[in-house]
């Protein structure tokens, strides 16, 4: 089994090549079979490797295939690592990926670019699994940039439009900004440790004297975190994710909710022992996450596009994950990755089902009353909403609560920020539910044609709903009689190479845990209820609110005008400088003054001297006479 472990990422790659080269000729049925078959087989293999790794010594399998780059001291092998962290993540990617492939069959069936879509989607699974399983940072980076590429292609899938390719380009470039951080981080780590294999770095980091490494480690981890903010859409690089909703909705579910955007969290978990050596970085991570969680949640309050609400929600939830990581809760942060993958994928697929049923209507203000028309979609989305708002007993409740508790131990101020974000979350989610499913239909025509989606779409919804409800059991907290099992399971990966356990950030107690839990739950429930009561009656209250507070409403609905600020403050100046460089420096200075001017002078001088060659003897005689006089004067003077 281990000998064919490399097939886990490679199978979807072969599928992608098939769709790209033969897909159009082979027909939709063949494309469907290959797409589902390759991802399904990857999932089965990943499951087998999960158990194989569990049985292996140290719960870890390191497989090396061949050298990718081997120059001087730099050796980068093509190698895969199977440990608790990577196998769980691989199962999430392949498992949820499989469900979303299935869903896509229904959602995309009518599209002419069906084969092209699955070419990109399978390619994404390949790169995502490479990111997860790669044993060295450069190989992880292969996946890291590769998923960015697939994201670019899938966001821009509707190539005949103007907005989709623009959104894809924006996503790629924002991601690349983060990637620079990754590259710089890798350079710093290689210079310090002489290797880029994750296992070797962690092995060496644990045994170095703190004072010699703190600077390098802090710098490298900060740079890696810059990479994470790009991929995982944190401040200041979050701007691409809301635009990314231009892609087909299953893509938003798979890439921009469940898997790719969590790779920043995965990266930090992968390097957890290194981050523990850099307390400064940890504080930066925690605050970036906390502030993003609140900031994005406030933008989500008044978005009218159902997918935009979910996009800002994703940015916000990713912020919670970083908050958890920064509070030294690596297991807690990753636990939220795990639960979020289920309920956010479910929310997006539910939204896609609504959009599909309403024939591409995405405006919440044009929906309403869909509860009876689309029962499966409604009930499954209701479950997801309860999860994300942290309704007691659901998966989101356990994972978010663990993060908030750890945040409080790190700093009560962080807890307050996180709590406010949770209050907003409950509100905007119930606003969404109220506007879409309750009340009177605000677009009669669309409503009458609305229908429940086919089974290929509702089956994944149902399966994800079950997953969303049960995912929390993996991390039942100690005060609920559980063991926070996921922490124990991840321990070998998160503490790999660590010399000794770090001191806990603070000391909590059961009473404190219960108290914080009660507070956040009460506030979230109240806020959710308020949202529901206001919006199940329609849009009137929001319109009234917008009239009374025009400035506030405008700022929130326009996302604080950050996009406009970036355009005016950054992109426009860069274009200006580039034009200056070209038109002034290249054309005028170098070419004009440096090249063409001497050229012109030479020609003028040549023309002038050429004019003396008149061919008339008396002119030459005159010249000779002048010359003779001049020479005589020089010599006889």
């Amino acid at each position: 089994m281990q000998r064919i472990a490399w097939l886990i990422p490679v199978l979807p790659l072969l599928g992608s090549a098939f769709h790209g080269i033969l897909g159009k000729r082979a027909g939709k049925a063949a494309v469907t079979a290959v797409a589902l078959g390759t991802v399904g087989a990857s999932f089965a293999l990943a499951l087998a490797l999960f158990f194989a790794a569990k049985a292996a010594p140290g719960h870890r399998l390191d497989l090396v295939y061949f050298d990718w780059m081997a120059v001087g001291d730099l050796r980068v092998p093509f190698g895969l690592v199977f440990d608790p962290l990577s196998t769980v993540m691989a199962l999430v990617v392949a498992g949820i990926g499989l469900l979303i492939h299935l869903y896509s069959v229904g959602y995309m069936w009518e599209e002419e670019g069906y084969a092209r879509y699955f070419c990109y989607l399978n390619l994404f699974v390949f790169f995502m699994l490479t990111l997860v399983l790669g044993s060295s940072l450069p190989l992880l980076f292969v996946g890291w940039e590769g998923v960015g590429l697939c994201s670019y292609l899938l966001i821009g899938y509707y190539i005949e439009t103007d907005y989709a390719p623009a959104a894809g380009l924006k996503a790629f470039l924002f991601n690349r900004v983060g990637d620079l951080g990754m590259i710089i981080g890798m350079m710093a780590l290689f210079a310090a440790f002489g290797t880029l294999t994750v296992g070797e770095i962690l092995g060496k980091a644990g045994h170095l004297a703190p004072e010699t490494t703190f600077g390098v480690v802090t710098f490298a981890t900060l740079m890696m975190f810059v990479g994470a903010t790009g991929k995982s859409a944190q401040i200041p690089l979050y701007l691409w994710l809301p635009d990314a909703m231009a892609g087909p909705t299953p893509v938003s579910a798979l890439i921009h909710a469940a898997t790719m955007v969590t790779s920043g969290i995965y990266l930090i978990c992968r390097l957890a022992p290194l981050y523990e050596l850099a307390p400064t970085t940890m504080t930066v991570v925690a605050w970036t996450g906390g502030v993003t969680a609140l900031f994005a949640a406030t933008i989500g309050l008044f978005q009218r596009d159902i997918k935009k609400v979910l996009a800002y929600s994703t940015v916000s939830q990713l912020g919670y994950m970083f908050l958890g990581l920064g509070a030294a809760g690596f297991a807690a942060g990753f636990f939220h990755v795990f639960t979020h993958a289920w309920f956010k994928a479910l929310l997006f697929l539910g939204a896609g089902s609504v959009i599909h049923g309403l024939h591409h209507q995405q405006d919440l203000f044009r929906m309403g009353g869909l509860k009876e028309k689309m029962p499966v979609t409604f009930w499954t989305m209701l479950i997801a909403t309860l999860c994300i708002m942290g309704f007691p007993g659901t998966s989101g409740f356990f994972s978010k609560d663990e993060i908030l508790y750890l945040a409080f131990l790190k700093s009560p101020a962080l807890y307050v920020v996180g709590l406010l974000g949770a209050v907003c979350t409950a509100f905007y989610m119930w606003r969404l539910m109220g506007l879409a499913f309750w009340g009177k239909p605000r677009d009669r025509h669309a409503f009458e044609h609305a229908h429940e989606s086919p089974w290929t779409m509702t089956l994944p919804l149902a399966l994800l709903a079950v997953g969303a409800l049960l995912a929390g059991l993996l991390g039942l907290p100690k005060i609920w009689g559980g063991t926070f099992a996921i922490e124990g399971w991840l321990e070998p990966a998160l503490a790999f190479g660590r010399a000794e356990a770090p001191e806990a950030a603070g000391h909590g107690s059961h009473a404190l845990a219960w108290g914080l839990m009660a507070l956040s739950t009460t506030l979230a429930l109240a806020s959710g209820l308020a949202g529901f009561l206001i919006y199940r009656k329609g849009t009137k209250s929001e319109e009234a609110f917008a009239e009374r507070n025009p400035a506030l409403y405008r700022v929130l609905a326009n996302k604080y005008f950050v996009d406009e600020g970036v355009e005016a403050g950054l992109l426009a100046p860069v274009r200006w400088i580039a034009n200056l460089a070209w038109k002034f420096f290249d054309v005028i200075l170098i070419d004009g003054v440096g090249v063409n001017l001497p050229g012109a002078l030479t020609r003028i001088a040549g023309d002038f001297t050429a004019r003396t060659q008149t061919g008339r003897v008396r002119n030459y005689a005159l010249g000779m006479a002048f010359g003779t006089v001049l020479l005589l004067w020089i010599f006889l003077r």
Binding site: M69, A70, G72, V142, G146, P165, A578, W582, D586, G594
Partner: protein, 509 residues
């Protein structure tokens, strides 16, 4: 009878066969152009076959040479000039790249030249001789002769078959390059006088005896000639003009091979002959390289002509090559070796693709396009793959080269090497910006509705010939990205010796 001669004179054959074949083809009348083109391609393929079969299976000797020829040629004022050719780790893959790109270029531009195409194909063959000669020459006077000989065919290719401003561009190309090499020739003759030889090894010993200041001046004279060829910022302005005006085939060869002669010259001659001066000036070279990377990318971003954009991207990419060499680390320089090949393949392919678009639309203005993907999906797929390689996506060739260069620079000895590496990463971002922004405007979006637009003139996707030309390039893009060791294995020890002549190839970083 032929075979034993080939065994001892392989390099002579490789260098002069294209010249002879090209000269022969010049005798054919113009109405025979199709036949001439066919014969030219067959000749070029034959050279490729011989080079690949003979060089790639050879085992290097103690000096790392896979093939060599060496004998006394003549003496001038008592200084012996040797006919010394050799292929070793430093030039093996550049030679292969050259003999590969020439037939690819010919096939790729089969129908692109309006008239006198047979003559142009013959010139390509003569150009191939000049390039191969410069690549394999080990004696500096011989190198100089080939170096200058390369100029003429290219001058005519631009000046005769070029665009509207071809005469300006061709003259600029010639004058820029010549003014650099004249200064270098003076330094070269001075060194030959000191050393009593044109052999780089002997010159290196003689240089050691000179005062540091003189070494520095001589190094700069060498560096100027090579830097113009690369071209290194701010000596680059001949390149965009030459590329924009040159016919597609000229651009492919210019970008693919000619520019590399500059960076190769640093590695083969300037650095080993003046190691101390090289160490002294390498931080400045690195600074100019970083400037070229960022500056070239910024200017590429605001171009309105696709070909000019690709030309400025060359400035940026060659900046990476020079940065790797200037880092004076084995990792960085190996990255530069790879990046030279990468640039030859990727930028060569880009020029071919732009040419294929131009053949159909008769315009290269970005604003004349839009929605090309809807009309030419196969072309778009090829263009995307080459674009990704050009912006250094991992698993394509571009990444391996840039990654090694950046890591090497970060490790370099001079004290702001780290800052140079960090600044150079900006090139990775900007390359994505200018390439993908152009791709968005040309390929995506609704089809340009203007009946006069370029898009409106696109009626046919790629034909079999064009696919056959692009396919090997795409295979190489992935091969070099996934297993760059194929192309790096031969050169490591030699690079180490070139950078640290005293250490004998033992330095690993």
């Amino acid at each position: 009878m032929i075979t034993p001669w080939m065994n001892t004179h392989l390099l002579t054959f490789l260098v002069f066969a294209p010249l002879a074949w090209g000269a022969l083809l010049l005798l054919f009348p113009e109405r025979q152009a199709p036949l001439v083109k066919l014969l030219a391609v067959l000749g070029a393929v034959g050279v490729l076959a011989v080079a690949a079969a003979q060089l790639l299976r050879g085992q290097p000797d103690a000096l790392g040479q896979l093939a060599f020829e060496r004998f006394h040629w003549f003496s001038a004022v008592g200084i012996p000039v040797e006919y010394h050719l050799s292929v070793d780790g430093l030039n093996l893959w550049l030679v292969i790249l050259t003999v590969f790109l020439v037939p690819v270029t010919m096939l790729g531009t089969w129908n692109s030249l309006p008239d006198r195409s047979g003559t142009a194909f013959a010139l390509f063959l003569m150009l191939e001789s000049g390039m191969l000669g410069a690549l394999v020459a080990q004696d500096l006077l011989l190198f100089y002769l080939f170096w200058e000989a390369m100029l003429l065919p290219m001058y005519f290719l631009i000046g005769v078959w070029g665009g509207a401003e071809r005469r300006y561009a061709a003259t600029k190309f010639l004058v820029f390059t010549l003014s650099g090499s004249l200064l270098w020739l003076v330094a070269l003759l001075y060194m030959a006088g000191k050393a009593g030889s044109f052999a780089p090894g002997v010159m290196a010993q003689a240089a050691q005896a000179l005062p540091p200041k003189a070494q520095g001046t001589l190094f700069l004279a060498f560096a100027l000639a090579f830097a113009i060829k690369v071209p290194l910022f701010p000596l680059h302005t001949w390149l965009p003009d030459a590329h924009t005006e040159a016919p597609t085939g000229g651009s492919v060869i210019l970008a693919g091979v000619l520019l590399k002669l500059g960076s190769y010259g640093f590695l083969r001659f300037a650095f080993p002959i003046f190691p101390d001066a090289a160490r002294h000036f390498s931080p400045i070279l690195a600074a100019l390289s970083v400037a070229a990377i960022i500056y070239g990318a910024l200017v590429a971003m605001v171009q309105s002509d696709i070909k000019k954009l690709v030309a400025y991207s060359s400035v940026s990419h060659m900046g990476f090559v020079m940065l790797g060499i200037a880092s004076m680390t084995v990792i960085g320089t190996q990255g530069a070796m790879l990046q030279m090949l990468n640039h030859g393949i990727s930028t060569g392919a880009l020029f071919l693709l732009v040419g294929m678009l131009y053949d159909r639309a008769h315009t290269r203005r970005i604003a004349d396009f839009g929605g090309v993907a809807l009309k030419m999906p196969v072309f778009t797929a090829f263009f995307m793959i080459v674009t990704l390689s050009s912006i250094g996506l991992p698993l394509t060739n571009g990444f391996a080269g840039e990654f090694l260069i950046l890591n090497g620079t970060y490790l370099s000895g001079f004290h702001w090497g780290k800052a140079a590496a960090v600044a150079a990463t900006l090139g990775v971002l900007l390359s994505a910006a200018y390439m993908l922004w152009m791709v968005k405007r040309v390929f995506w979006g609704p089809a340009n509705a203007d009946p006069e637009s370029g898009t409106a003139h696109l009626h046919a996707d790629l034909n079999a010939r064009e696919v056959a030309v692009l396919l090997p390039l795409v295979v190489l893009i992935f091969w070099m990205g996934i297993h760059p060791q194929t192309f790096l294995g031969h050169s490591e020890a030699q690079v180490s010796r070139a950078l640290y002549p005293a250490a004998g190839g033992e330095v690993k970083r």
